[in-house]
Amino acid sequence: MRRLSSKLVILLVVALPAIVVLPATAENIDTIYIPGLKLTFADGQIVANPTNVAAIQFMKDEEEVGFAEDDVFANILIKGVPNIPENSPDPVTTSGESGSYIDLLESDTTLLHLPVDQLNVRYTNNSGVKSVTISGIISGEITYDLSGYGLTINPNDTVSIQLVADQLTTYGDPLTGFVSTNGTGHISFTPIPEPSSLALLLSLAASALAVGVYSRRRS
């Protein structure tokens, strides 16, 4: 009986962290799309200040769970952007200077505030089709109010962003400035993991295995 209870304790000890640690499945990624994004680059800063966007689209597991197209704005400031060479195999990296951010707003409400650290910036010119891509991960304290759109962000989650500036008027070689009349933003993040039944079953199976191995060693 004593042996059984010790097994039960082990089972619980192993199972509980497993449930908590298990990440969301690979497909379980939440996404925010920002079509109609207008960015400019000048004086070492990429800015959208604050710009009306076509819409903000909220996706969970590839299904649209929210959509806002009236009075939605992007307010973006990325500091410390160096000159950007054309078609370089390696992207340039921003300085990571503090005070850089990506904000999404609906009327006066800030839906999402992402403090920005270092980002990669790349400029491609394919036979006159010019595009600048800004990508990276967000570090720092994220604040959000997405309750109306069914999304939740865990501040500890990795949030990846990509902003694409298309329809460019460019200045300088390497690029010292641009005006983009259209582009898209894409923000994806792992939601707070919920212990699904599958995860629970997996945890229990892993725990049972661990208990088995432990008992075998003891005997």
Partner: protein, 252 residues
């Protein structure tokens, strides 16, 4: 009678000069289409093909060969031309994208002139609203701390490649005489099942990428504007002749 005629000629010339810049302005109005929630696949072993996730086949008239995307947005001159359309279909294939460096970089292809098809967009009822043939492809691949971040950009344009058909909403009509470009991209966590062969990417899937088509509105409104201006001038001339005749009658 000579003096009034000269004055009229002067008015016509001045009005014509004022009207001239209008067609030029109309000619450069951009047409943009953006697509969200686009799934696609890259398979190096199939002649370096990048295609919509459901099937490498396309332009078959079969919706099963196209892939459903979440929304398409339409813009004229950078402003929304109308409401977005939900649940559109995208059908595309680009071939010949080889040697995309494993650690990030750029691969450019040259046109083979033997593309099976290019980039087709269908509305929610699977009516084709845009069909493009494509040309040169540039694929750029960036890796960073967020994991693989992929962006592909490729272009089609000019009269030699051009538009196969178009039936865009909101009065949009792409000018085939100007550059038309297409871009699809995958970001951060949307890239799945990435595989390598030596120093190069061999395959991956993208769930929920984005796409875009950029071009210019056909300068149809310019001729309309010119006709309108000519009509107004005609009216003005008629009015002036009539009032002068009335004035002469009064004097006599």
């Amino acid at each position: 009678m000579k003096a009034p005629m000269r004055r009229l000629q002067f008015i016509i010339i001045v009005a014509g000069l004022i009207a001239l810049p209008v067609p030029a302005a109309f000619a450069s109005v951009s047409v943009d289409i953006q697509i969200t929630g686009l799934d696609f696949t890259y398979d190096e072993s199939q002649d370096g093909s990048l295609f919509d996730a459901n099937s490498i086949l396309g332009r078959t008239g079969n919706s099963a060969d196209a892939t459903r995307a979440t929304r398409a947005y339409f813009y004229l001159g950078g402003e929304k031309a109308g409401s977005s359309i939900a649940k559109v279909y995208v059908d595309f294939l680009m071939r010949g994208i080889h040697n995309i460096p494993k650690d990030g970089g750029i691969a450019t292809t040259t046109s083979t002139g033997q593309q099976l098809f290019g980039f087709d967009l269908y509305d929610q009822y699977f009516n084709c609203i845009l069909s493009l043939n494509l040309d040169t492809v540039t694929a750029s691949y960036t890796r960073d701390a967020s994991g693989p971040v992929l962006q592909f950009s490729f272009s089609s344009g000019g009269p030699s490649v051009g538009v196969v058909s178009q039936n865009l909403p909101y009065g949009l009509f792409l000018d085939e005489g100007q550059l038309i470009s297409v871009r699809v991209s995958s970001e951060g966590g949307s890239v799945k099942d990435i595989a390598y062969d030596g120093n190069y990417l061999s395959s991956f899937n993208t769930l929920g990428g984005t796409g875009a088509v950029y071009g210019f509105q056909v300068p149809e409104p310019a001729s309309f504007a010119a006709l309108l201006i000519i009509g107004l001038l005609g009216l003005e001339i008629g009015r002036r002749i009539k009032s002068r005749a009335n004035r002469n009658l009064t004097r006599t």
